[in-house]
Amino acid sequence: MSAYPHRHLLGIEPLEPAHIQAILDTADGLREVLDRPIKKVPTLRGKTVVNLFYEPSTRTRSSFEVAQKVLSADSLSIAAAASSVQKGETLLDTVKNLEAMNPDMVVIRHASSGAPHFLARHCRSAIVNAGDGAHEHPTQALLDALTLRQKKGRLKGLRVAIVGDILHSRVARSNVWLLSKMGAEVVLCAPPTLMPPGIEALAPVTYRIEEALEGADAIMMLRIQTERMTGAYFPSTREFHVRFGLTEERVRRARRDVLILHPGPMNRGVEIASEVADGPASVILDQVTNGVLVRMAVLYLLLGGGEAA
């Protein structure tokens, strides 16, 4: 059996720990490629990848594009605003049109949960979920895991606090699946209005950030989206910062060597204080490099799988 037996990457939930391990190991193995003077290998020459982005994204999209360039895949990025979507074309029609170009892979970011599953049902290409609604963002969880493993040498037994808007966060869901599958200890913290129902079945929950941070090896902060700030989920950004924000003082409850992760973009002064975001514990920029690596690994395993790199 191959290291990654799936045709798509729709989420972390359906993966076995061994599959996650395979992606992370592959990413680590590719690290040296980025240190070469000429950062390009011919691995995916002749393969076509379409990046279909229905939501604005700078980080994820450019990360996929860099990964594709390094591996020599031919890629095409379509942003919803610049495509026929604005003319009212359905997702199905867009997909059928893309498919006429016969791409080997479609990377999709979409505001509707399950959009990648829809594509997987209606087209022949390999599908990679680059974030769907509040469902999953698997490559983000993988890059977070790669970062933790790089800095801590392991995932098993790490205590990780995930703090912020859990309700609307696909990053939180993917991370909860990944970290618990890999044997880390996860604790979730948000005001009750931003905690999805039944999440306790997946990870313990607390409404007190001090408790969540106690002894943490890593803190993952989630972005509070601007539109939620006025959505009656909490009274004010001021109170949110005072009660649930990550401040220097609160970071001291965690282990001395704690790592601070944020999927970006950050709201400084809301979920995270600038001193923390820019402080020594922050690995936010390492996440960006590791993002390229896990996306290279996913491209490689789904498109080049089995052959030598």
Binding site: E13, T90, H110, G133, H135, P197
Partner: protein, 434 residues
């Protein structure tokens, strides 16, 4: 005048008369002429139904025929053929058409269309409020006189308690039941499924069961206050069952229906199907605890009948992102077979109970003729074949809608013969007799 038809050698199950045994049934002049052992009338056409079960015609209190206005989704012709093929001899047509059926003119036009195109009886349901906007009451006197059998703003829940109170009061003058799709919209805004652990995992916006139960409680209280008759459409949560049960216990005139999909499926189906929009309807599929409570409500009599909420949609309305897809599933052609296989064969309900839930009891809820094989009742008969095995194949539906979560299910038992007013409108008899 329709010919005399003798159904010979079948097992007659007619809960309205407490009858379950081998009898012949003679239909003549559009009514049940006689039910008895070994009848031998002169000049009657004889249909051998030995080995089959003869029941009063099944009545669906909750059907969306989509005509007028959305003939691309369904028409009176296709919807009533689907009903006949599914064993229903009468359907109650919900008024959320375009235009909304809130006037005698629209009601008459629908009945006119039914006279020319329908193969089963069509009973119109009128709107509670003008345009189903939830503001001003529709003209109930006119609606009743032109043929409406009940009132509903289905799909557009009556948000205002004051309007619902006035509707229940005013409807008393015309002895009309008010049917409500119970949903507190501020709790279900933009929801695509049930709120709970499954919606959390799928990242879909959910509507909590409380969004329904709050309005069920309100309606039971208002029916108690006004003395009006309220019927709870497609009840789907444990708390809703509980509210109806308590209401009935204190004598409130409340009735309720449940759909096969809420009786048989849970929100896990959304996950297991990989976001298949055939699992999207409103109210949504709930958790198993709710599902079991609805089944229990059906068993203990809290829920009065099974209704389909047959809601056909075009492929285009369903083959989109889950949160963009239209709500609703078709049900007319699967309901009876599903209930026979998954409720009767599974031992949840006995056959007589199921027949009552599909015939006599829905007739009683709206005060419709039929639902019984007593002498002089309309000659509407559903004949069941309990042994037939069929796979649910949407490609073979008579309905224009293909949106069913039951595709591929293999079901034992189903309708074999549907007779309306003494005429056979659907026949699917076992092999040798064909």
């Amino acid at each position: 005048m329709s010919p005399r038809l003798l159904l010979k050698g079948g097992r007659v199950v007619d809960p309205s008369q407490g009858l379950d045994g081998e009898r012949d049934v003679l239909l003549a002049d559009g009514v049940v002429a006689e039910v008895g052992a070994r009848l031998a009338p002169r000049g009657a056409q004889v249909l051998d139904v030995s080995g089959l079960v003869v029941c009063p015609g099944f009545i669906d209190l909750h059907t969306h025929l989509r005509e007028p206005g959305r003939e691309d989704k369904e028409t009176v012709a296709t919807g009533t053929r689907a009903a006949a093929a599914g064993g229903f001899t009468a359907v109650c047509a919900m008024p959320n058409t375009d235009p909304v059926n809130d006037s005698s003119a629209t009601t008459r036009a629908l009945l006119e269309r039914a006279r020319s195109d329908a193969v089963v009886r069509v009973y119109p349901i009128g709107a509670i409020t003008k345009g189903s906007k939830g503001e001003e009451l529709a003209e109930y006197g006119d609606l009743r006189e032109s043929g409406c059998v009940a009132l509903s703003d289905d799909g557009r829940p009556v948000a205002s308690a004051r309007v619902m109170r006035r509707a229940l009061e005013y409807a008393r003058a015309f002895d009309l039941t008010v049917v409500d799709h119970c949903e507190e919209p501020t709790l279900s805004e933009r929801a695509s499924m049930n709120e709970g652990p499954v919606s959390t995992v799928l990242g879909l916006r959910g509507a909590p069961g409380a969004a329904e139960a709050i309005v069920v409680e309100r309606n039971v209280l208002l029916a108690g206050l006004t003395g009006g008759k309220v019927h709870i459409a497609h009840l789907s949560t444990a708390s809703s069952v509980d509210a109806v049960r308590r209401g009935k216990a204190r004598g409130v005139r409340v009735t309720a229906e449940a759909t096969p999909h809420h009786l048989l499926l849970t929100d896990q189906a959304v996950k297991e199907s990989g976001y298949d929009t055939a699992t999207k309807m409103n109210p949504p599929l709930r958790c198993d605890e709710d599902r079991r409570a609805v089944v229990e409500g059906l068993r203990d009599g809290t829920i009065d009948c099974i209704a389909t909420d047959h809601a056909p949609h075009t492929v285009d309305d369903k083959r989109v992102e889950y949160d963009q897809a239209a709500f609703g599933v078709v049900g007319l052609e699967t309901a009876v077979a599903l209930c026979l296989d998954r409720l009767v064969s599974a031992g949840v309900l006995d056959l007589a109970r199921l027949v009552a839930l599909l015939s006599h009891r829905p007739a009683r809820v709206f005060g419709l003729p039929g639902g019984s094989l007593a002498t002089g009742m309309p000659a509407d008969v559903t004949v069941l074949d309990l042994r037939r095995r069929r796979e649910v194949d949407p490609a073979r539906f008579h309905s224009k809608g293909r949106n069913t979560p039951f595709a591929g299910w293999i079901l034992e038992g189903g309708p074999a013969l549907t007779i309306v007013g003494g005429r056979v409108v659907w026949k699917d008899l076992p092999g040798p007799r064909r």
